[in-house]
Symmetry: C2
Subunit: 144 residues, 2 copies
DNA sequence: GTGTCTGCAAATCTTTTGCAACAAT
DNA sequence: ATTGTTGCAAAAGATTTGCAGACAC
């Protein structure tokens, strides 16, 4: 968290409670790509006092400072995730198996997808920055 | 186009000029994954007389009739694509490469994923029924 | 103390809905 | 003739902006 504060200061931004709270939520949800509304909802859940306008502005500011990665899905709405300065280069591993019966969410190890991404980068000349991969079905228990 | 009209009739919907116009635009942009606004814009470009509310309602109605596939990119805004009834069997082979710069959406061939699904079924004993796979990044052009 | 940041409310933009007129069957 | 459909305008939702007071430095 030090690292983010340092970068904000370097960029001439002030360190406020609201900004720290937003960073904290992003930190606690590294594997999600949260929308502004979702960040706001989590802040309220945690009992933080913040206005939604501040959340919108803070996320934009963090994006400009390259502290969060802004997923632009269709040019209309955005989702944010904290840039991981430790795990450099690679942004994130996020792929789930969702059981349609018991709603369990299992995580898939990255190996398969690394391989798949390499195939995609080669075949489609597409630079994969991030992914959102969900398989819906029945887990081991519910298969019976 | 006959096929779509037939299905609409079977479902008790009336065949109106507006509905045909929307289907026509979707047909002319099969690989485009248009948002409601974009469908509306293309209709106006073509000189069609239609209200935006009708476009919203028509796309929702087509989705309920399974004539279009509704891409849920982030749970907030949607894009639509005409279901291809000629290409039978593979209804939901939707795995996309989404360019975060120009918003192009490229389709990945199913082969990779079939293989991936088999690995998942074996390793996680998870029965895959459906999937939602999106890779975000930069397309060939925007990589530069 | 100075300049930035925040929260509110107003403004703007997107999507949905109610309703009277209209069109398809 | 009957019932569903359309377009408008109003409503509801989402995002941005202006501004006065509050806060970080």
């Amino acid at each position: 968290m030090e690292k983010y504060v340092q970068i904000l200061k370097e960029n001439g931004f002030k360190i406020t409670n609201q900004r720290m709270d937003v960073l904290e939520v992003l930190e606690e949800n590294r594997k999600e790509h949260l929308s502004t509304e979702e960040v706001f909802a989590k802040l309220i859940e945690k009992g933080k006092e913040i206005g939604i306008a501040t959340v919108y502005r803070t996320l934009q500011m963090l994006e400009e400072s390259d502290l969060v990665y802004k997923l632009d899905l269709d040019g209309k709405s955005y989702r944010y995730e904290l840039v991981d300065y430790l795990e450099k280069g690679k942004v994130h591993q996020h792929h789930h198996l969702i059981c349609e019966n018991c709603h369990a969410i299992l995580e898939v190890q990255g190996d398969f997808l690394d391989e798949l991404e390499q195939m995609i980068e080669k075949k489609y000349k597409f630079k994969v920055m991030n992914h959102d991969v969900k398989f819906y079905g029945l887990c081991e228990h519910c298969k019976k």
